[in-house]
Structures are given as C-alpha cells and as structure tokens.
Amino acid sequence: MSAPLKSTDQLEGFRRETRAWLEANCPAEMRQPVAEEGDVCWGGRRWKFKSDAQRAWLERMAERGWTVPEWPKEYGGGGLSKEEARVLREEMARLSCRAPLTSFGISMLGPALLKYGNEEQKREHLPKIVRGEIRWCQGYSEPGAGSDLASLKTRAEDQGDHYVVTGSKIWTSYGDKADWIFCLVRTDFGARKQEGISFLLFDMQSPGIATRPIRLISGYSPFTQTFFDAVQVPKQNLVGELNKGWTIAKYLLTHERNMIGGMGTQRQTPLSQVAIKSIGLASGRLAEGALRADIARFEMDALAFGLTMSRVIDEAKAGNETGAMSSMLKYYGTELNKRRAELAMSIAGAEGLKFDGQTQVDLAPVWLRTKANSIEGGTSEVQLNIIAKSVLRLPGA
C-alpha cells in the first residue's frame, strides 16, 4: 500500500529538502500558535481567509499535495511514504508550522473514498479536498437515531436516474458552513436495519436543504440540525454498493473514534505544572494533598494510556491482531480527557468559572466541550458494549 522503504540516505536527503522548502515557504504568521477559531483553516467555497499568509500557506502546501501527504499523487496527494510523511510532520513541528488545512474531507471522507469510491468519484472529489475548495460535513445521527445509529430513517427513494432524499440529520458538525455532505440514508425499507443503508454524497446548495444551528451548553454552536425536503441526488453520487453503506459507516466510525480517542494525548502542559504555578509547593509537594493525589492518578493513567496507544501502533506495524482496540482507545481516551478538564477546573478554582459565552479559550467552555467526547462517535457505553461483544465474547452482547 505505502511506497517502498527508502534508504536512510534518501530519507535524510528528503529531510534536508523539506526543511529548506518549509523555511522558504511557510509564512512567519503561520508559525505562530493557533490563538482563535479563525486561525484554523477549514477551506471551502465560503471560507474567508484570515490573512494573505493563511491563503498562501494553503496554496503552497496544496500545490505539493502536502495537505494530505500520504494520498496518491494521481488524486492530488503528496504520494509520500509513511517514513517521508513522518519526516514532513517532524520538520513542520520543528518550525511550529500550523496545519495548512483541517477538514472532514481529509480526516474522514477522503479515506472512505480511497477505499470504497469508484474512479470517477475519486477524480471528482479528492483533488478538491486536497486544495481546500470543498468543505464537507457528515450526515450520520438523526433525532431518533443516536447510539442506535442503524435505526436511521432519512429516506432516499429511487426515481430512475436520481434519488429523492427526505428526512433530518442532527449533530452535523459545521452543517451551516459546509458545501457538501456525506450522508447515510435508508434505501431498503424492508430489510434488517443495517442492511438497507446507503452512503450518498450531495451538494448542500441543492434545493430542499435547510440547517438550524444548535446552541450547546458551552455557548458555542458547532453543530446543526439539517433538514432534507425532497432533495434530488444524482445516482452517480452513491458510494459503494446500494444497501451496503453500513460497511463504509463502520469504517468511518472506527476512524472517527481513533481521532476522538487520541485528542486526550495531544501535547498539553502537564496538569501538575499548572497546579504548581497556581497552588504552589510545600516541602516539595503540592500544597493540597487530596488534589495532588488525584492529579498523580490522572497523570499516571494518561502516561499509561499514551504508552498503550504506542503499543497498539507497534503491534499493528508488526502485523499482530489488535482486535477492537479502537473502541478501547475511544472509551478510555475520552474519559481521560474529561477527567483532565475536571481537574483543570478544580486547580483553577474561581478563576475557572470565567465565562462570557464567546471566548472559547477560557477553561469553562473547554470543560463543557469535553463532555461531548464520551457521547460523539459512539458513547462510552456503546464502546463498552462493543468490547464485551467483539473482544470478550460475552454471551448475548
């Protein structure tokens, strides 16, 4: 699948070239830490670049296919081997380069299209994702189908050369900002619930589509409810086989779980360091004993979890069976992330209560946001069900 291993010399050559190119092409502004929402570039038809630097950075990286370093060149990707992609990541980190583009096209639809799409679909959609021209959203959950996703009711009726889609989706991330949607719809109304589902792509500007933002407890509205009223979708926009969309959905859910589960391990200032600053030490120990004990327990679990992520990657590299590890990582990672936010709030005390309903870098909105981690992408309880069934082989699970 990946390009053949490069010799160390070749890899070092690639590193030198990459470093020189990044130094010459990554604008100084794009080496500053992300400070607010607009600093993360999502692209799309309606994207307003925050600055010329943001635009230039995206265009230069997209030109080389380095917004998606490992995708094949024929679809606009960088065509890099795993080792080269790692070198690129390391060199970008060395210069503190921001990601040129963040999108669900890159993280979710792209991998699904590469695996299940036909040639025409790949050629049509992948290059636009690479260049950040089309912003995608995901149409999975419905008001009546959350944890029980397969019971979804949005219908796609066969009308000869096109489908007519009617129904409603909920928790559509940035549904009001997206250009296209990848959507699970029911195409067989008599079959067992998992067997009548198909995977459709369509333009959010199609007649009959409306979105309504959902205001969350954090004061923030990243999700919409999305309504489809007899939306016409050309038949060539069906991905994979008719009624086999559940396979693609499961593949993408695994992908999504790995992303959400991994969020807790992003580089953050250790809680203990935050606590030393705000609480202080007494005889070398954090001055509040009970809080210190909880922080230590959290930091040990976080370190153990990080090592487990590494081990799962190493096992996969060695070709060993890793089972339903994505459920484990999603469950444990998101629960850890929530614990971290709870402790961060406790350490901050009254300072942590600051809330103006707008600033998303304050602690309170972050704390509130983490509560969704163990709900989105399959709740913690659903992950435990999956572990009980597919790993532990418990009866009737």
Binding site: L286, A293, R297, R311, E315, K317, L384, V391, L392, G396
Partner: protein
C-alpha cells in the same frame, strides 16, 4: 524501542507458560499450604526452573546464566502470577542477582552467581524495617570500624528469609535513621552466629520472615557496593523487584479476569447466562481496558530497566502503582462476580485476590508509588 516482544522473547514466554502451568499451578501452592510445608516451595522444582534458565535469567552467560534481562524476568514473573507459582524467583533471581550485578565484587560474583543460576543457592534481601515500605528508613546498626563490624537490628517481610542460604542486609553506617546517605549493604551467611530467623505466615501463603540480628560479625569483604553509599545499589535492586512484581501482578490480573470471563459465560441465573447482563459486561469491559494499560506500562518499564534509561524509576513507580491498583480491582471483581462460590476456600479465585494483596504491599503499594511518581515529577 518497539513495544512488541521479539521472536526470542515470545519463545521464552511460551516455554515459561507451559512450564508454570504444568509444574507449579495453583494446586501446588494449595498443597504446600495444606501440608504446612516448612520450605514453602518445592526445591526440586526450583532446580528444574534453574534448568529452564529462570534462576539465572538476569545472570550474564559468563557466570552461567541466561542473560535474558528484565524483559525476560518479567515474562517469567507474569506466568508466576498467572499460576501463583511458589518459587524463590523474586528474592533470589531478581533482588539478589541485581544487588550482585550492581554492587558485587568480582569474588562475590564468582562465588554466588553460578550457584544461584544453577538453583543451588537461595539468597534473600533483608531491608525493610517498617510495616509500610520506607526503604531508606534503616535503624539496623553496623557498629565498629577498621574493617570489622557487628550488625544488630530487626528486619521485616524478608522474602524467603527462613530458607535463604545467604542474606543481603542493609545497615546504617552513618547519618540519621531516615537518611538516604549512610546505608551500607552486607552479605552474611544465614547460619552465622547472632542471626535469628522466624517465618511469618502470610495471607497469600507466600514466604516471608522476620530477621533478628544480634552482633553479627562482618568485614569489609562482605560489603556489596560502596560503604555508606549502599542506597545507590539498594534503589536499583528495589526498582528491579518492583518492576518484576508489577509483571507478576499483571499475570494475577489477567488470569483472574480470564477465569471470571469463563464463569460469566457459563453461570446461569434468572434463566440466562450472567454474562448477558449489561451491569456485568460493562465492568468486565472496563477492566479489560485497565489490564491493557498495565500490559503496555509493564513492558515499557522492563525495557527501560534493560537499557538503564535515566527516567526508569518514574516508569517503575507507574508500573508498580498501576499494576497494584488494577490487580486489586480485577481480583476483587473476580470474587464478586463469582458470587458465593468465590468466597469458598475450595475454589481457587480467592487465592488470586490474596496474592494481589501480598504482591501489592511488597516493595511499596499504590499510595507509596503514586507519591513517589509525583515527587519524581517535581510535585
């Protein structure tokens, strides 16, 4: 280093797995207990273990050992945990050998390492003096000077102390009673005048003893490591023991968890297998995740000891704390999920809970290592 076992390590583990299950299963520990065996393990089986390379797992090949390192020792300990095998492996093959490798003179190594590796010599570490682990709190005195000393003091929880041929004793040669400085390690003969050992039966039916020393004569040649600076060797010995215990606790947790899963698949109540109940499924699934974390931590820690990484102690704390905590939860859940039968002596599952407690307390429990973890991280 990749967090995956090599081919050699996998073969070594498979051999250990077969041997422990056949020769030292839980039934053997039960038999030793029922017969109130004076030794607490089968000496003939320990010789067989030596032939398997267990007694000399850490001993370099030049001294007659297998040279398989701490990862190898951990693989053995994990199988010991799974089978609750009665063996002097921890005291002799890990604690004593690490002390000799780190601080032993050429003469000491040549005299002891081959005899340990062949299973002919049992050596115990006598260090702890407090009920709660406080490794540098040493009141045992070495009085005298000019190369001649007399040891006096009392040591607790000496693993295999009552059957050891030699004892490695920590004593204070200078400094305050809690000072890391001023500790010296001495090698003494268990039959020396003034040595009095009393076996202390424990709830996990594993070997421990109390040691009384009264004017036991030792000399310069008996010192292991540097005079007054014995804590350097002692800390390395304790970390090796803690990491090995973490691996044993991983085995205890794994085995009791697997036995419990089997019970959940078979036992029927209310007209259904109890494994169909979500209340039990979710607890089992959570436990699965915790055990996976312990697996990663134990392997990483043993690798760090083998490559003598500077931050290996932080990992040792993590491993011992996490393994102690998870083995406690796993064995407690095992008894609870087995219901009434889990409370009976006839059924083995209780043995696992007892060993989780015993191994958990040994060389520092969860609280000790959580505290040390935080201290090493600067808080």
């Amino acid at each position: 280093m990749s967090l995956v076992l090599t081919e050699d390590q996998l073969m070594f583990r498979d051999a250990a797995k077969r041997f422990a299950a056949e020769r030292t299963p839980v039934a053997q520990l039960r038999k030793l207990r029922d017969q109130n065996d004076g030794v607490g393990f089968d000496r003939a089986v320990w010789k067989e273990m030596a032939q398997m390379g267990w007694a000399g797992v850490l001993v370099p090949e030049e001294h007659g050992g297998a040279g398989f390192g701490y990862v190898g020792a951990g693989l053995i300990a994990q199988e010991i945990g799974r089978n609750l095998s009665a063996t002097p492996f921890l005291s002799t093959a890990v604690l004593a050998v690490t002390a000799l490798l780190r601080g032993g003179s050429v003469a000491q190594k040549e005299a002891l390492l081959p005899a340990i590796a062949s299973g002919d010599l049992v050596v115990a570490l006598a260090s702890d003096e407090r009920a709660r682990h406080a490794p540098h709190s040493i009141a045992t005195r070495a009085a005298g000077g000019s190369g001649r000393f007399k040891l006096s003091g009392r040591k607790l929880h000496v693993l295999d102390g009552h059957v050891a041929d030699r004892l490695i004793v920590t004593a204070r040669t200078s400094g305050d009673v809690d000072s890391r400085d001023g500790i010296t390690l001495f090698l003494i003969d268990a039959k020396a005048t003034g040595v009095n050992v009393t076996r202390t039966p424990t709830v996990d039916h594993h070997n421990a003893a109390t040691l009384e020393l009264r004017d036991v004569a030792v000399g310069d040649a008996d010192v292991i490591g540097t005079f007054d600076k014995g804590a350097v060797v002692l800390d390395a010995v304790l970390d090796a023991g803690r990491a090995t215990l973490a691996a044993e606790l991983l085995g205890v947790a794994e085995e009791s968890f697997e036995r419990t899963l089997n019970y959940l698949r078979e036992r029927e109540q209310f007209g259904a297998k109890i494994g169909t109940f979500q209340a039990l499924q979710h607890r089992a699934a959570h436990l699965f995740c915790e055990i996976e974390l312990v697996r990663s931590v134990v392997l990483r820690t043993l690798q760090a000891l083998d490559s003598q990484e500077p931050t290996a102690s932080n990992l040792v704390c993590l491993a011992k704390a996490k393994a102690t905590d998870v083995a406690r939860i796993a064995t407690n859940e095992a008894v609870q999920m087995h219901g009434g039968i889990g409370m009976t002596d006839e059924f083995d599952i209780g043995f696992f809970m007892k060993r989780a407690r015993g191994a958990g307390e040994t060389l520092g429990d969860y609280y000790y290592h959580a505290d040390r973890f935080a201290q090493l991280a600067g808080y």
